[in-house]
């Protein structure tokens, strides 16, 4: 369990954007794994199984507890950002005094602060490598909406990070050199 707990918790926390709920989901995943302990012990697919179960349980949790409120909450947010695409400009200055841990913490915090209709497809696309079509089917929305939400999610993430002092151009150049 010690080997996989960070991976399982990260998967749930990034999808849910909530530490307490992620801990509950992680606990559920490991209890499920305990029931299949004989199958999973020493299996090379154990990590993949745990990640898949964590993803599915997180998405089920979101749909179970939030679906009925979407009409009153997320829908309002959708209406608010239905206008033109947000502007995204790459700043031309750099900030050198942030270390890797600080940058990671800022990026995670910015990700958590995105609305769920942007964060969830963004996480599934970039962390789970799911194609647009699969995300749309899993979330039961159109492919067009998924593409729009992911694009707006990226732009919102960049804006949030720029506002918090993480310079996008700086991170981009670092990532190209395998630093970020």
């Amino acid at each position: 369990m010690r080997q996989y707990q960070d991976m399982v918790y990260s998967t749930a926390a990034r999808l849910l954007g909530d530490a307490a709920q992620a801990e509950d989901i992680a606990q559920g995943v490991f209890l499920k794994a305990y029931e299949r302990f004989d199958e999973l012990r020493g299996s090379p697919t154990a990590a993949g199984w745990l990640k898949t179960v964590a993803t599915n349980q997180s998405l089920n949790h979101l749909s179970r507890y939030r679906k009925r409120w979407q009409f009153f909450s997320d829908r309002r947010r959708d209406d608010e950002d239905d206008g033109a695409d947000p502007e995204f400009g790459v700043p031309d200055t750099t900030l050198e005094d942030l270390d890797a841990d600080q940058r990671s913490a800022l990026i995670e915090a910015a990700l958590d602060s995105l609305p769920s209709h942007q964060r969830v497809p963004l996480v599934l696309f970039h962390f789970e490598d799911m194609p647009y079509q699969d995300i749309a089917e899993r979330l039961q929305v159109s492919v067009g909406k998924i593409k729009t939400d992911i694009h707006r999610g990226r732009a919102a993430l960049a804006q949030l990070l720029t506002a918090r002092g993480v310079v996008v151009a700086d991170l981009h150049s670092r990532s190209e050199h395998g630093i970020a």
Binding site: M1, R2, Q5, D6, M7, V8, Y9, S10, A13, R14, A19, E23, A26, Q27, F30, L31, Y34, W69, F71, F72, S73, F88, V90, S104, I107, E108, L111, L122, V123, H126, F127, H151, R154, A155, L157, A158, V168, L171, H172, S175, E176, A180
Partner: protein, 157 residues
Amino acid sequence: MESPDRNQERLAQWVHHALRGLPPRNAPAGLQSRVLAAIARRSAQPWWEQHFLRWPLPARLGFLLLSAVIARLLLQASGWMIDRLRELGVSPVVATQARELRSDWSFIASLNDTLHVVLNAIPSPWLYGSLAVIGLMYATLFGIGSVAYRTFNQERS
């Protein structure tokens, strides 16, 4: 100045690298002890409080048999009750449906017909009025719930 497509492409690349470069989040220190405590609690539960699939096989078979017997008894009891109603002078059509329900195994069709007869016997204003009241109560509760959610949950987040 870069084209919007090129800008979006750069943004997508940057986000991908930034997110994929993140280390896993550290699980809370108490997670492992929570899981172990939950496993211990679960193991300490008697079998009848555990999930049905974890019951011993004889107990599962016994439960299914008992359920079938109870269902049969309930059907017989409902037949007996309808017979008593017939004796009290309730519509003979209902009594006929009840006899079919008892004697024939096509419960679902008989039940459906019986329901139709019963629904037809209820005056329309009562039926529609009841449905309207139920709908109104549901809408009211849903509205109160959504207002409470927006007030307490969204303000907190």
